[in-house]
């Protein structure tokens, strides 16, 4: 206890000594404007990072998911196949299923059942339709080893078994969507870089204003032997603290927006959907917060948590550089 009291006393005196060097940083760098502006920057950065993360997830999903699947349409699926079979005659769809199962790299071959077909067509034709025309069989070929090497050869082989069979090469549009998602990802990262750049300029201007406001005490303690590192460190610690507070506030402000965005994007990505409102209402605040956070993709949660430390680091580095450059004007 005595040691703790001694430590408290030491740190109190140490802080008092640091405050009493005449720099009066609370006046040089006021504690309202900078955190407010950094908070606004942090919200923008969080939104841009959300965009970047979302685009990255979509890119990965579209590129790998679509590339690893072929969709095959077999018209008139129940007609007998044109191919010669050693035993009982096969239908066209069964023959295509068998051929696909033998395809090198095939992980799973799945023919959509009626319910799945109805769900697929529902957006265009509505539900509960009883079609007079025979629908083609839709078969999904899931590949274990990425895109098939020669989709054209496969299409020709299937056409020989069941003429008129179409092979949709998902890899092509998947790759296009992947490139689009990559572009969006790059744009989002560029937006983050621009926001960071604006933050640097803002902190630089604020620091310069602070230096101008405290020129006399800085010159005095410099003349008494204060090093550039000491003066720059005092300013940088203050700016880092203010930027951290701003970054933290911005992250908290951005959180509801990000949860909402994740909820909207959930069907297209791997994030969990928003929990039902009844379950939310029944939970206590900690569980509710946990449920909401679960809807965010882990990389986004990580970047969100890194926002305040990143703001502090940008503030510290920018102020160090600005103050040291300014001090170079002194002998």
């Amino acid at each position: 206890m005595a040691e703790r009291a001694h430590q408290t006393g030491f740190f109190t005196r140490w802080n008092q000594a640091r405050r009493a060097d005449g720099l009066a940083l609370r006046r040089a760098l006021p504690d309202r404007l900078l955190p407010l502006l950094v908070a606004a920057m942090a919200v923008l950065a969080a939104l841009a990072l959300a965009g970047a993360t979302g685009a990255q997830i979509l890119s990965a999903r579209w590129s790998s998911g679509a590339a690893a699947m072929l969709t095959v349409q077999v018209p008139d699926p129940d007609a007998p196949t044109a191919a010669k079979t050693p035993t009982t005659p096969l239908t066209r769809s069964d023959a295509v299923l068998a051929a696909l199962a033998d395809t090198p790299g095939a992980a799973r071959v799945h023919r959509l059942d009626k319910a799945e077909l109805d769900a697929l067509l529902a957006p265009w034709l509505g539900r509960d339709n009883d079609f007079a025309l025979t629908l083609p069989a839709i078969i999904e070929l899931h590949l274990a080893t990425g895109p098939i090497e020669d989709a054209g050869a496969l299409a020709r082989r299937l056409a020989a078994i069941a003429p008129g069979t179409l092979v949709e090469r998902n890899a092509e549009w998947g790759a296009r969507l992947g490139r689009l998602a990559d572009s969006l990802h790059s744009c989002a990262l560029l937006a983050v870089a621009i926001v960071a750049g604006i933050a640097v300029v803002l902190i630089m201007a604020t620091t310069r204003a602070g230096l101008a406001a405290r020129r006399m005490p800085i010159e005095l303690i410099h003349a008494m032997g204060a090093t550039d590192g000491y003066i720059a460190g005092r300013f940088a610690r203050r700016t880092a603290l203010l930027a951290f507070i701003g970054g933290l506030a911005g992250s908290v402000l951005a959180l509801p927006l990000l949860v909402l965005l994740s909820h909207v994007a959930a069907p297209f990505a791997t994030a969990a959907p928003l929990p039902p409102s009844a379950a939310m209402a029944a939970a206590d605040w900690a569980t509710r917060a946990h449920m909401l956070l679960d809807t965010l993709p882990p990389p986004l949660v990580a970047t969100l948590l890194a926002l305040a430390p990143a703001a502090a680091l940008i503030g510290w580095l920018t102020t160090q550089a600005t103050v040291r450059a300014w001090l170079r004007t002194l002998p």
Binding site: A17, P217, L220, G225, D228, P331
Partner: protein
């Protein structure tokens, strides 16, 4: 000790550079041994403040060689200059007290920049406040003090860390004769302890009362050393 060899100094005037910049000092050469005391004399504009500025490491000479406390200032790094500055005490003509710091903290500045323990700072500051007769004004802010009190605070701040080099520009301007005499006694004591001291003044009666080696400047040149 300090040593100057053909030291020259030009100010960086706006719009002037190189040879067209105004010359403040020309070919100044003298030396002061450790513990030496010098009066620095000369009319206004003779270059006394410029010389004190160079000696206080507020600028580097534009010509010649300047050695302070064993370091060649022309070649010293910024970190080395900072270390040297901590061994110099300065009494400015305009006091240069920080208006928003209490008297105690103004005086404690040199010790805190040397990272002395806070207990030691407190003891040293209270001792010197007693010596300058301002013990009751420790918590006052400089604008609340008279000119003489401010000058005593400036003197206390300049000597509290027992500097190796003491520079004073008109340190007795705002002091009465008794206070001025006490200050000169302090300078004498410091000099005896090894502090090198230069005092710029126009106070002829003070010079008569405390005769010492004189350096006289005129138009930026050293015209007398003796």
């Amino acid at each position: 000790m300090i040593r100057l060899r053909d030291v020259g100094f030009r100010y960086d005037a706006p719009g002037a550079s190189g040879a067209s910049a105004p010359i403040a000092l020309r070919q100044i050469s003298f030396a002061v041994p450790q513990g030496g005391f010098r009066w620095l004399l000369g009319p206004s504009g003779a270059g006394k403040s410029s010389l004190l500025r160079l000696l206080a490491l507020g600028a580097r000479p534009t010509a010649g060689t300047l050695e302070i406390l064993g370091s060649n200032i022309g070649h010293a790094s910024r970190a080395a200059l900072a270390r040297l500055r901590r061994r110099i005490g300065i009494v400015h003509q305009d006091f240069r007290l920080l208006p928003d710091l209490p008297v105690f903290d103004n005086i404690a500045l040199p010790l805190r920049l040397q990272r002395r323990p806070e207990d030691e700072v407190r003891d040293e500051v209270h001792a010197i406040l007693d010596w300058v007769g301002l013990a009751s004004r420790a918590t006052a802010l400089p604008p609340q003090l008279s000119g003489g009190e401010q000058q005593r605070v400036a003197i206390a701040r300049a000597v509290i860390h027992r500097p190796a080099l003491m520079l004073a520009d008109e340190p007795t301007n705002a002091l009465d004769e008794l206070q001025a005499n006490r200050l000169m006694e302090l300078f004498r004591d410091l000099s005896g302890l090894g502090t090198t001291i230069l005092v710029a003044t126009h106070n002829e009666s003070l010079i008569r009362r405390y005769p010492a080696h004189e350096l006289e400047l005129a138009q930026g040149r050293l015209v007398r050393d003796g």
